[in-house]
Symmetry: C2
Subunit: 246 residues, 2 copies
Amino acid sequence: MITSYLIAVEEPPLSVSGRNDASDQLSADQPVGVGPSVADLLGVLSYGALVAFDNLSVDARLAPDLRRRAALSEMAAAELVHYRRLADRLTELGADPVEAMTPFVASLDAYHESTRPRDWLEGLVKAYVGDGIADDFYREVAARLAEPDRTLVLEVLHDDRHTGFAVAEVRAAVEVDPTLAGRLGLWARRLVAEAVTQAQLVVAARPALVALVEPFESSGPAGLAALIDRLTAGHTARLNALGLKT
Amino acid sequence: MITSYLIAVEEPPLSVSGRNDASDQLSADQPVGVGPSVADLLGVLSYGALVAFDNLSVDARLAPDLRRRAALSEMAAAELVHYRRLADRLTELGADPVEAMTPFVASLDAYHESTRPRDWLEGLVKAYVGDGIADDFYREVAARLAEPDRTLVLEVLHDDRHTGFAVAEVRAAVEVDPTLAGRLGLWARRLVAEAVTQAQLVVAARPALVALVEPFESSGPAGLAALIDRLTAGHTARLNALGLKT
């Protein structure tokens, strides 16, 4: 999923809008896995899937041939299947999917606007590296959710049928033209920087989301540091898999 | 499916390219339902599904709100499911899906380039009216195919979960602004004219496809006239359903 935000939150930000109504207030005894934070998480993932569909279908048109265009179109369509599962769960919880997504439209759109791939390879690096770090983060959060949302989020994020395609394409291109390793490596660094900026805006817009991040913080600075270490290690592994400079 | 071509073929056109190799030659004793014509039919439907995915995902960005954008994105994703089924069948038949689609890329792209919707409503009319007449035609052809291709094509074409959405949207808009009935009615007429032009190019590129149309012709001018009557009746019914002028 292209949902690259919420990478690291060092402290719960203050509300920056009028959205911080009573239902958004965090309380120390609110269990993780219920309440507005779950609807927010499913909402941000739903919009992430919808916008990933949108971006991958645009990127498909950058494909150098019909075979690759079909492959990326299938990746795009898979995002819509994720969207449908998440939206159905929101409906089941009594939430309106469109309302749940709306708070995240501006910040996710801003991330994607600021990271429009200029060519086929940039699109693949974005789908693999940008989404990869976000997916790792959400997997960590999902491990703390109550069922059935835990399994739902993990299944949606675990759909990595298509990552092999991105890796093979980028590796092959870098082998032919080793100067790509530097250019695409820089691109990957920019993706992460933009994602962190937008993550802060996402959390500012929906303070309830912080409830899902807090377990890391309540285990102290060591818990948060360990999380960031794990995310960084995953990111580095992906860059290596692509043959890019870290 | 957005596969608006092959509407009416009055006589088998001569080959206009070097593609008319031995496997494309028609013979009087070639049964309908096997041979190159079936691979061609599945090929044109496959590319039609891929390009429909492409167009609907672009049109989704014309949506006036997130709810409608999600609805059209789901229609787009459904086309990819059709594409996958058709491509799998081609592979099963020993044909390469990309090779089977390639002869149809230029003419289908030309149709879609010449009928780019300028707004949300034009996109819906194109998806409902333009695809509707093509789908009706393919349903007639499919009825003469051998199994399992007959069922496959009919199932792919019968996926009308989303037509209700287009009808409701256009009807509601025309009720609010009756002048739309004239403008969108003209648009529908242009779609059909462009589709007929491209249909002739499609068949010229792949004479083997004519084998699938011939049963109508071999039943004489009355058979072809009856087919055109049925297609026209379906087209008129769709325009009426939308509240457009015929």
